[in-house]
Symmetry: C2
């Protein structure tokens, strides 16, 4: 059956990475995503993609159980580590707060 | 355990809707999302949100099993119905092809 999470909080992030540091950035991001999903009950979805042919343009889709889970995530050790490690790599960051319309995914 | 789908195809869509028709658009979009996830084995994720305080700015995160599943989706009866119904509502549409970096979600 299809899954739903209408009451969760979705945030989008659009990042521009220093082209010379894209590979290092992706490793840090992957480590942070794995830790967040594994360790934080309130982090429901972290999807990271880059724009085709523009590997320095990163788009994140982040879903949290609620606002408290989002705030807890920002203070987690793995997020702090990611933030410190990637500080010099991130040239631009735009956060987009959202209202959910409908979130549906196949059960995995 | 965390779930993965590294070999799937992710597409983003950014739409601008006629402000006077946002409610009608959202109903059509919700119907199309429900049908796609329920009826199409290759449609893995359809997440629809609007930008906070800008309900006319819609963002879609679409994940397909592969390119063939994406093409099949575009020819499905429910997508055709959605497209016809919302044609006059959509003022702008930008499709963003992507490369996946890492997609992780809690099992649902």
């Amino acid at each position: 059956m299809a899954q739903t999470s209408e009451h969760s909080l979705v945030r989008l992030a659009e990042l521009e990475i220093d082209p010379a540091q894209v590979d290092a950035y992706k490793l840090s991001l992957q480590e942070e995503i794995r830790a967040s999903i594994q360790l934080e009950p309130g982090v429901l979805t972290l999807y990271a993609v880059s724009v085709k042919d523009h590997p320095e343009e990163i788009r994140l889709f982040e879903e949290y159980r609620d606002e408290a889970a989002c705030q807890a995530h920002l203070q987690s050790p793995h997020f702090e580590k990611y933030k410190a490690a990637t500080q010099s790599m991130v040239k631009g960051l735009r956060l987009v707060e959202t209202d959910s319309i409908l979130l549906r995914a196949k059960p995995r």
